[in-house]
């Protein structure tokens, strides 16, 4: 069962306050709209994202076929599963949370084909200009190195 604990490293970056825009849907809609990702040209497989918000687990499926990308919310067999707090995921889609570091922290839990996961993380954007990772910035504020 999914634990309902706050993830301290999660950020609200990417959410636009005061609007209904949902960065998660936006990210997946964008994927579906583009339909093809040159960076995944040699990749085939299905990824399932289990996004948790403390109450629910939202499932998203991304089917990659030689770079062609389809997004679905219908239950299907997956080659890889990424379990992640929704806020952390939104940080990843905004470039403020690094996927690999989040995996090492245990904030993102990959299962199944890690190759597929490593390839997919190519699609997350880099940090916005001038952005310094939250954790490091916190430490700097506290005067730690």
């Amino acid at each position: 069962m999914v634990e309902e604990e706050p993830v301290p490293t999660s950020r609200t970056a990417g959410t636009v306050k005061g609007t209904d825009a949902d960065p998660t849907s936006e990210f997946f809609d964008g994927l579906a709209r583009r339909g093809h990702e040159p960076l995944l040209e040699n990749v085939s497989g299905t990824l399932r994202f289990d996004l948790t918000d403390g109450k629910h687990v939202h499932h998203w499926y991304v089917v990659v076929t030689k770079g062609d990308v389809a997004v679905s919310r219908k239950r299907a067999a997956a080659d890889a599963v990424l379990r992640v707090d929704k806020m952390v995921f939104e940080g990843m889609t905004a470039g403020t949370v690094n996927a690999m570091a989040a995996v090492l922290r245990g904030a993102v839990v990959p299962e199944g084909s890690l190759h597929l996961v490593v390839m997919f993380q190519r699609l997350f954007p880099g940090p916005p200009t001038g952005f310094r990772s939250s954790v490091a910035a916190d430490r700097r504020r506290k005067g730690l190195r």
């Binding site: 040209e41 690094n98 570091a101 245990g106 190759h115 390839m119 997350f124 880099g126 310094r132 490091a136």
Partner: protein, 691 residues
Amino acid sequence: MSGDLVQILEGNTFVVSDLRGDIEASLTDPTGLFSFDTRFLSKWMLTINGQRLNALSTDDLQYFQTRFFLVPGTGTVYVDSPLSVIRQRTVGEGFHEELTILNHEDESVELEIRIDADSDFADLFEVKDALAKQGAYNRRVDDDCLVLEYRRDTFERSTWIWASRDATVDEHGLTFAASIEAHGEWKTELHVAAAIASSFESRHWSKEERRGVKPRPDMARGLDKWIERAPRLDCDDDALKSTYRRSLVDLAALRFATRSSPKHALPAAGLPWFMTIFGRDSIFTSLQALPFTPELAASTLRALGERQGTRLDDFRDEDPGRILHELRYGEMTAFEERPHSPYYGSVDATPLYVVLLDEYERWTGDTKLVRELELEARAALRWIDEFADLQGNGYIAYRRRNEETGLENQCWKDSWDSISYRNGELPGFPRATCELQGYAYDAKMRGARLARLVWHDPVFADQLEKEAAALKRRFNRDFWVEDGEYFAIALDIDGRQVDSLSSNNGHLLWSGIVDKSKAKAVAKHLVGPRLFSGWGVRTLAEGEGRYNPIGYHVGTVWPFDNSFIAWGLRRYGFKDEAARVAAGVLDAARFFDGRLPEAFGGYPRSLTKYPVQYPTACSPQAWSTGAPLLFLRTMLGLEPIGDHLIVDPALPLDVGRIELLDIPGRWGRIDAFGRGTVETSRARAKHRGAS
């Protein structure tokens, strides 16, 4: 100090202990059980009836297994002990220790056997820099198992310790009450498991699971198979034979598989502190080992391709197309206090990636992998022109964007004073070191070959060749030091030559960027008295402002560097000179039991009758391990042409006869023979006269 430590490892899990097998680490002390860059045991201490033990001998059985022979006592030189204690330790997913106690007396004994255990869960980086921990510790007894835990936010690591027989387990260790009859024996197995958990689930070792844990029996067989698969070396020179075997065994120990492709092992950089992917080191080592173990190259290309940069990230010095420098798994990386997730701050790995891909295809004919990695290779080639030209003059240069924790020097000579003018002054940044331009040239030429042959894109091939030719023209004009007749080590930001004479010239020969008309002068320097010590080519020439025979990159001799220099000399037809360099370094290997260190002193051979080792923490180091392999290739003149392997030996006279049997490649398996003809000792004698 490291002489009194014992280390064993498997992948990136390793144990460093004292000669008794005990671990008593302070934060800065590098002993312990480490896995995924985290220390899982900082204390592991065996006592019998409250007494520590003394080491009689330590037997390194395999790189993953060691045996300690101990006796209880006070530490006198000669002991006539009623008891013998044997600890046999095998690294796996944590480690497994078989503890045996023999009673030599005519009557039974009652013993209290105790293992004290603790962990500070330090990140490797913390051990290096003595940093304080942020998270919280916990210790508990879980069903006869001692569990040590560490938690910081969602980051969770734990160590599980249990025994195969009944023990009293408390929060600080395990105690056994043993009764051993006269001339009897007592035994237990101790298991230490390193567990990585996440925010969603704790890693738990149930009693059931624990029972199933056994040391991996196939590890020794795996090593035998590895050696069997490699070509066999038969030769008159026993020292060379044992150097070759040492290299193969060490290379086996240095294999490391990432979690995303656990079946494809690639060479990590060094044992034990650098058991991870380093773009540069993994590529160079794969190149050296290609004629012997080509699968290492394939794994390296796959793993580095998977993690190729795709975005701009200043913290990680990442660009689209850039090949990573170093990957780490510890707490500081997890919390982005260090950029190694992965860190991209090297500028040679990217062009070298294309070089390795082409060289791999030339040996193996594996066009399938070249097709698979077309996207990555093209992105690497694009990176050279779009992201690496920091001086705006068409040359690769480097300057870190992560000013806090990034690397200042992003070429292989990465120490602070490695790049200097003749007068010893240091240039500012960005710096365009010369060997980078050679690698870029080579990458374009080789990329063109692959584009034509495998990607069926002759237009791209033509374009790359045109760019390469232009680069070569400019390079031979801009970097050539007229009054010295060699290539400057770098260009500074003003386009001025950083004009010292260095070993980098050898890499330029290897890359093919050197004009034929200039090659002779360059070769002369490489085996001349300012650069050649008699043991090998110095990193920086005698007479330069910063020259120091024991300076890390400013005078020492690096076996890895020399192996590529020799290859470069051969590329331009300087067979005898190549043999001379090979002979020097291989002679040096005799003084290190066949295991070449990272570097040794640049003192003239006439001055020190043996090579003076540069003190480093890491041994074996992958690209030193690979050096004898590349020397063998170079001395035998092995060159794949089409589906054939050309053999054109130029061996040092002292080496005598060499047979390298069953060389794998696109031709199946081929044998190569050679006999020493090159008088290399004359060169040494001449050098002696000169110095």
